[in-house]
Subunit: 370 residues, 2 copies
């Protein structure tokens, strides 16, 4: 069934992609994103906004490790940058922490590639304080540069360098399920395909796979942030889709709810004790469409495989008396949602379903609902 739809859509979409000229070649990108940015109909009234850091540690480094300009000494590493907005009059609604995926930053949750309001602002407008971190190792959280300078100076072997990961624009099409191949959008894709060049600009090199400590400092930072907020809903996406689970195991008392958006993994190896802990927290898993599209990355299973792993985890949590649910495309009432569901054309409808779930399942601070 699905393969039939694929082949039909492929034929139709070659023309679409050609007409759109979606793909830039080497050279300047001509898109002028500012002109596409849309203002909301009504003002955004904030009680507060700003930014701060969670976690971090001091390490001592040599002048060479610091880039050989100023004197050696201590620097901070592994801190997590967080930007936040608190709505006026939203008192009592749980804060929502939105964590981005691989090769991306907190930008994922801000203005969409085609200039529509991001989930960060929408959740604020719906009364929730919103906290958007950059994962440790990326964006405004920075990374530990010592090994790179040591290699440059010849005092560390090149093989000791961690890899920097980015996804090519071409690879994003099947992996993010915008279409089965580059330049071939699904006819009903919800992703704003004409803005793919703007999604491309959101990419940053990702050193998570070897260049940050184990366990990932972001996990404890998220657990600590939820504690500092006196309870929060943690929302992860893709690579960070399982981070709320890990943070909940570190600090279960601070978790008001967990939202796993297109999680890269739902671990199958949790102990019964861990499942019992997760059973105390409301959990929602959200997946888009076209999950059986091959990712185009041999090391990565299909998203359908991950969906099924999450179904299995949900089953274990429910058997342990917990509240875990799957929000499937059918429930959303729409086909064609991509991996970047928070940027899809129907992103506010999806957000409404998550907000409804929070309203029904998540207790307000100082209360117990469940």
């Amino acid at each position: 069934m699905r393969s039939q739809r694929f082949s039909k859509s492929c034929r139709a979409s070659v023309l679409v992609a050609t007409a759109l000229g979606v793909f830039g070649t080497a050279g300047n990108l001509m898109a002028q994103a500012l002109k596409d940015v849309q203002a909301a109909d009504s003002p955004l009234v904030l009680k507060a906004q700003g930014s701060f850091f969670v976690g971090g540690e001091k390490v001592e480094q040599t002048q060479g490790e610091l880039g050989d300009l100023g004197p050696g000494g201590h620097i901070s590493v592994n801190q997590m940058y967080v930007r936040y907005m608190v709505p006026q009059g939203g008192d009592g609604n749980p804060p929502v922490v939105m964590v981005h995926g691989a090769t991306l930053t907190g930008k994922s949750w801000e203005t969409t590639p085609d200039g529509r309001m991001g989930w960060d602002e929408y959740f604020v407008r719906r009364g929730h304080p919103v906290y958007v971190p950059d994962q440790v190792g990326r964006g405004r959280s920075g990374f530990n540069q010592a090994v790179f300078n040591n290699t440059r100076a010849g005092s560390a072997p090149a093989a000791s360098l961690p890899r920097w990961l980015r996804f090519s624009d071409e690879g994003v099409w099947p992996n993010f399920r915008i279409g089965p191949k580059a330049g071939q959008p699904y006819p009903d894709t919800q992703f704003p395909v004409t803005a793919l060049d703007e999604l491309s600009k959101q990419g940053v090199p990702d050193v998570s796979f070897g260049g940050i400590p184990t366990p990932n400092p972001t996990l404890k930072a998220l657990a600590d942030l939820a504690g500092q907020l006196n309870g929060a809903v943690l929302m992860g996406h893709s690579q960070s889709g399982s981070f709320p689970l890990a943070a909940a195991l570190l600090n279960p008392a601070a978790m008001k709810g967990l939202v796993l958006v297109e999680p890269g993994t739902c671990p199958a190896n949790y102990t019964d004790e861990q499942i019992a802990t997760l059973a105390k927290v409301p959990i929602l898993v959200v997946f888009g469409d076209y999950r059986d599209t091959p990712t185009g990355i041999p090391a990565l299973p299909t998203w359908q495989g991950r969906y099924e792993a999450c179904q299995a985890m949900i089953g274990r949590i429910k058997n342990a008396g917990g509240q875990a649910e799957m929000l499937s495309p059918t429930e959303i009432g729409s086909r064609g949602n991509s991996h970047m569901i928070m940027q899809d054309k129907n992103h506010l409808q999806v957000a409404d379903l998550i907000l409804k779930w929070i309203g029904e399942r998540v207790s307000k601070p100082g209360t117990q609902k469940k």
Copy 2:
């Protein structure tokens, strides 16, 4: 005179620093920054907020250059991330673009290290749309990772790697003029010394010195951004202190005014033609105190040397009929301002002086004042 004050303050401040325990050693930083964040007395009412990119280009890279996970193909590099807030009811006031300095990100302008309102929000509350970029190569703008992955794979020599620069906490004291030496704050320093560990967390590795194209793509991106805004005040700090000048030479018609906060350089080699161009734009240069403190970095002159270079440039611009001014500590009416003047304890008083200058010297969109 100055050296006398130095020696007195040094003696006094050793005790202060010891009592404060300002310096962490290796290990977890205990500061919990969120608890220090202060909310404003009145709500912030925004017509719009969000983020977008300016500039960027597509390059084609191999699977190895992309970190050897997904397929090779095109990625975007050299784009500039910009976050913005537009106040409700501020129509007619020129937008202000705030650019950060070396080893830092746009975070410089947000909530101060000790939790006070940043200049970004303050300028919005005073009616100006504010745009805060991350320089190309840093933060959410990302960088080109190919050479690092090639070196790791052995296909590029280690010597081809660009350096990553960071400043040690100890080096920041004299270079940012918080005190003559680490742990010895000037008794009248305006920097919130107890929050130095939070300033430390703002540091990220900086690949500007060899790892980005020449000329720095941020310069054209700033010139383009000012054009897209139909005119803007460009504000640079430290390393980017001269960026507004460079952007003005690229796109003079889009410059409503230039504010150079503690600029790392005021170029002495501008041609008379370039000076004539700069003479068409109101320019304000802002410097803090203790400028004759040795920077502790042999390659870098004192800030007094740079102050004098800026005075010379101001002189040339005035001789060419332009409006260029120096805002000196005496005019601010207060001693002890540091290099991080936008985070100093009297940062809003300094902001008020800049806002006053904008009000007097900078024309509103669609008008000509001068």
